[in-house]
């Protein structure tokens, strides 16, 4: 139990434990003999009870007892009385085992199993639990079992809520009790039980309640834990929403055969060079959803049949849910000026991973202008050499600013129905912000700062569609910088949060975004007009974010940051040129999101740390370890290769085989020796340039 210092074992303890071990060994040998020979005599069953009393962790013994019970219940002379006595025996054995070790998984599981037979009094269980939970109020096994018992008894959530509340009043340092409270409230919300119909009535009371715990003892984490749940309940709208799309609503998409387009009336956010004869439609939801297909999303245009569209989830894992979904529209090669209408969720079927239905159908439309290719594209591409050097960038000219201003607002979708529903959320957040500012004026408290940062961030995110700016971003950034100093053990976490807030700030207004937009102009380039490059270099970013505003980006400079991961980058479907030069990428597997970027042609991953460590640890901590996704795609024919080099570099093989690169820079990584480069050339036959050298 909690708060009891561990004592060093004394010699006599050791003697006792070795005596116990000896006894246990003898029992165990005997027990296994019975078990293997399927002997279920009274004597044999009693022996297993003895064994379990000494060692409740013996799973085999629990399983043996289950078999024994089944054996007795199947006897021909079995009657209700004998069944009850057999099961009561089991409950007694479990109880004794629990006295020995209150945290024995096997014992609790066995009890559930016995109860599930339906012959035992469930009321008794509640009394037993009361006793156990009084002895150790935080034991999660007991709480877990309690939920099971309460459900079997059909005990009302309100009664259980009262019980949890009493436990919290006894001692509020109780994760299990707070957790149970959140579980019960969720159930009551879902049932729309009396008094729990409106979150806006219940949640403020819950905030008030948790404040008592947090202010009384800010060092106690259990209260904060519950507060985080409340914050989530306040911020998250149940129903998923469409946050942004590419192309944006009301935008003009210009598709040109080469990188040049005529007429500066077109915004860089929607002009696209396409040599594949198609362009993507990207849907970005505010939470992961499933069920996006041609019946839930209809695309009406003159040149494609809706049924032909194939919607694909873009997520790190290979699950069928994602925040980002993409479909490709084929375009005819002739001149075209056409309007495309996309309606999302007019027929039901889009469901969030939390089980809520997409219930706010939305529609957007855009115009497509296709200019057929004027020149042979292959000629152009051969000579092309994109070099993201400082001298090649020019501050984005003002001549086209107007069009940018217009199109900036098209980047995100404003959901009008949020306004009315969100008032209480605003109020709740504003109250919380005030409350934690007060706490921080009293004590210096890490988790208090983190919570304030989260609250401010949530408030900004909620008010952004109306205010069009992030009022608190400076303060949030400061809080995270502070936390990095105060709490170095969680430095990386704060750094990641800091990066995301910084990116949200950069993308929050057209002015700040424009500051990062540059015109790429290479003196050696043969192109007539200059593409726009978003430069987010030298911002000491450790993570990428704000993707919902960056779906339009075709050229992205992330060089000289501290990126360890590029998770989420798969959402940027238009990306054709990406620099990750001088970052902290440690393995090839971190590049996995790039596999989903079909238009990526130019990639710079030079001067990272790929290959520094022989073992790729991200494989085990990343949410998308390659080991999960790649294995399923494994094509036997492909892997049967005689090339030893490929076998030895299978990670490179799996990552790069899907790439469609023209140009790759990989110099400055441990892995990038000559041998590796030759492997790369083999994997990517289309590669034209490696580390600045033209390939044959």
């Amino acid at each position: 139990m909690h708060g009891r210092p561990r004592k060093a074992p004394k010699p006599e303890d050791e003697a006792a434990s070795s005596a116990k071990a000896q006894k246990l060994r003898a029992l165990q040998t005997q027990f296994f003999t019975f078990h293997h020979n399927k002997i279920y005599t009274k004597e044999a069953v009693e022996l297993s009870a003895k064994l379990l009393e000494i060692n409740p962790e013996s799973y085999t013994a629990w399983n043996y007892r289950k078999l024994a019970v089944e054996h007795y219940l199947n006897l021909p002379d079995c009657n209700p009385d004998s069944i009850k006595s057999v099961l009561d025996d089991e409950l007694r054995v479990v109880e004794n085992a629990l006295r020995q070790n209150f945290k024995s998984y096997g014992a609790w599981h066995h009890r559930k199993w016995v109860l599930s037979k339906g012959h035992s009094s469930i009321d008794n269980e509640l009394r037993l639990l009361d006793k156990f939970q009084k002895a150790d109020s935080r034991n999660f096994h007991a709480w877990n079992y309690r939920r099971y018992v309460a459900e079997s008894m059909k005990r009302s959530e309100q009664d259980e809520l009262k019980y949890a509340e009493d436990m919290i009043y006894t001692n509020f340092s109780n994760y299990s009790a707070w957790h149970n409270r959140s579980v019960l409230l969720s159930a009551l919300f879902e049932k729309k039980a009396g008094g729990f119909l409106l979150k806006e009535k219940v949640l403020p009371e819950e905030y008030e309640f948790i404040h008592q715990a947090i202010f009384t003892d800010p060092d106690d984490q259990s209260g904060w834990f519950y507060h985080l749940w409340l914050l989530d309940q306040t911020v998250t709208t149940d129903s998923p929403l469409l946050a942004s799309s590419w192309p944006g609503h009301g935008s003009d998409v210009l598709l040109v055969g080469d990188r040049c387009y005529n007429g500066s009336a077109f915004s860089p956010f929607s002009a696209l060079h396409s040599d594949s004869g198609s362009f993507p439609i990207v849907l970005y939801f505010n939470q992961p959803v499933g069920g996006v297909n041609s019946s839930t999303v209809t695309v009406e245009c003159g040149f494609n049949k809706n049924e032909d569209l194939f919607w694909k989830p873009l997520s790190a894992s290979n699950s069928q849910t994602a925040r980002v979904w993409v479909a490709h529209l084929k375009v005819p090669s002739s001149d075209l000026h056409s309007t495309v209408e996309v309606s999302v969720g007019h027929s039901k079927g889009i469901i969030s991973t939390r089980g809520f239905v997409y219930s706010h159908p939305s529609m957007f439309s855009f115009k497509v202008h296709v200019q057929p290719m004027e020149r042979d594209s292959s000629q152009v591409s051969v000579a092309e050499n994109i070099s993201l050097r400082e001298e090649n960038f020019k501050v984005y000219g003002t001549q086209s600013e107007e069009s940018i201003i217009d199109s900036f607002d098209q980047l995100i979708i404003k959901n009008g129905h949020e306004t009315t529903a969100s008032n209480w959320r605003f109020e709740a957040l504003a109250k919380e912000i005030e409350c934690f500012r007060e706490l921080l004026s009293l004590v210096d408290c890490k988790i208090g700062k983190l919570t304030l940062a989260r609250l401010l961030k949530a408030y900004d995110a909620m008010s952004y569609p109306f205010a069009n700016k992030l009022v608190h971003s400076e303060e949030v950034l400061e809080l995270y910088s502070d936390l990095m100093k105060l709490d170095p053990t969680h430095y990386q976490f704060y750094k990641d949060e800091h990066s995301i807030v910084l990116l949200q700030k950069v993308t929050s207004s057209k002015e700040s975004l424009l500051q990062h937009c540059f015109q790429y102009k290479d003196s050696a380039s043969s192109a007539i007009c200059d593409p726009i490059c978003l430069r987010l270099n030298n911002l000491s970013l450790s993570r990428m974010g704000a993707f919902e505003k960056l779906l339009w980006v075709q050229m992205l400079d992330l060089s000289h940051n501290e990126l360890q991961s590029i998770e989420g980058l798969e959402a940027m479907q238009l990306l054709s040129c990406l620099s990750l030069r001088n970052n902290k990428l440690r393995s090839l597997t971190t590049l996995e999101p790039l596999r989903k970027l079909k238009s990526l042609r130019i990639l710079d991953i030079s001067y990272n740390q790929i290959g520094d460590q022989s073992i790729d640890t991200t494989r085990y901590v990343c949410s998308s370890p390659l080991s999960h996704s790649v294995g399923s795609e494994l094509n036997r024919d492909e892997t049967v290769t005689s090339d030893v080099a490929l076998i030895n570099n299978w990670e490179a093989f799996f990552i790069f085989k899907d790439f469609n690169l023209n140009q790759l820079d990989i110099v400055g990584n441990t892995i990038a020796d000559e041998k590796f480069k030759s492997v790369l050339v083999k994997i990517m036959p289309k590669l034209k340039q490696l580390d600045g050298k033209l390939l044959d």
Partner: protein, 566 residues
Amino acid sequence: MDDIPPYPPIDPTTFDLIVIGTGLPESIIAAAASTASKSVLHLDPNPFYGSHFSSLPLADLPSFLSSHSTSPSPPRSPSSDDPNEFSLLEFATRPLYSSIDISTFSPNLLDQHSRKFNLDVAGPRVLFCADKSIELLLRTGTNQYMEFKSVDATFVGDNKGNLWSVPDSRAAIFKDKSLGLVEKNKLMRFFKLVQGHLAGEQDVKISEEDLQSPFVDFLNKMGLPPKIKSFILYAIAMADYDQEDTGVCRDLLKTKDGIDQLALYNASIGRFQNASGAFLYPIYGQGELSQAFCRRAAVKGCLYVLRMPVTALLVDKDTGCYKGVRLASGQDIFSQKLILDPTFKVTLPLGSSPPLPLKEKLPFFSLKDDKGKIARGICITKTSLKPDISNFLVVYPPRSLFPEQVTSIRLLQIASNLAVCLPGMFVLYISALCNDDDQGKKLIHAVMNTLLTVPLDSESNAAVQSETAEIGSAVQDETSESSSGGPSDSGEEKPTLLWSALYSQELTLGQVDFICSTPMPDGKLNYNDLIDTTFKIFQEIYPEEEFFPETSLENPEVDGDASPET
């Protein structure tokens, strides 16, 4: 009590120690001396155990109080043909109680059941779960003769009749409805600071300078708001006098002592699993404590004779040294040492000059101590002051009832489940330190008028009503508008008073001198100071002996056994 029992002769006639009076200090000394293998004779003129620490039936309390309220003329010396080797110094009794005021509002009910009551003469009094009395009970095994129940809560009262629960622990702070969030934070941080200091954590050590400064200054320095300061000073550290008015404060608490009090309180909460609060109360009343130590002494061979008055002290004619006592039966009993109940004092025979050594010592012995008085009140009601809770303590900090109130007033409600009164009834003990009887009465009445309805048709109640009218009227008006957040429901009727006893008690200190005399009950809530004094007296008479040595444990019992019944 009226019929004088025949006095049986006592045999043997010589003891190591004679103890007169069975109050708690005397009983502990008798038990300690017996444990140290001394032969002890323990006498009490009363037919019951406990003297000024006893719990008495309702009818017996007034007569006990009044018998100690006057100084009767010393009885004539029973015989003048004393053996030549002794001088006789007759005992006189001191008047220890004054302004005794008994009011009965429902005579039939109470008279019939007088014996069902066990009223503490020295109430209100509780045992802190971790205080010296509990340690002593456990160490001596005396706990086996007693049973306790928990006093469930402490409240702070105000002049509107509200009772605010005292946030005395982490859980209580969390649950408290009257404190704001900032106050909760400040209070808990203060508790943590004290805990850290007591645990010896270096970074939270309270400086020596702070420890020697007044506790109230330290609380101010910590930025604690007035409400919390009041909780800490008067409801947890149990300060007696207004700590913020140095003009009237006779006992300014130092930080060091304040922190010790907090530590005691903190250690008391949760010490015993079935005691929810910090305090315990003995079933059948506080008188049980004296009785339990007497039993403990008897087990070790102490001889007990009740209903045995003593008339005179025997002193050596030549040396002036103590020799023995003369009993009411006329028998002379000799011993080396004597312990006297504070009731008695020794008067010099008129006209005779005492032996030289005695003359020097007597002035000290009869010196009147000027420690003021304590006003006590006992009230009996049929309803609890607070629904759903029956045994609890209420503290009225200085100035909480009226501006001139300079001392804390404490009230303890004990219900019939502690076998102190008829089922369904409640006994309220009230006390406050005071300079004189009038001041004391005013303090007790202020509490009674705030919390109780005093019926008008009493025989002896006229004085009570008139005297309290000034305080009461102001209070009455405000009750109706008491805040809805307050724990006491203003809509409810106040409990009606059935019976009350008000009296003032002298605060006589124990003395270690020519003859040792034990102290009267003090103004504290627990017995810590009394036990300290008792220990000093024991050391004085038996400097070589250990006070209940560890080896004397007959029943080595674990802590849990002292825990109260559930």
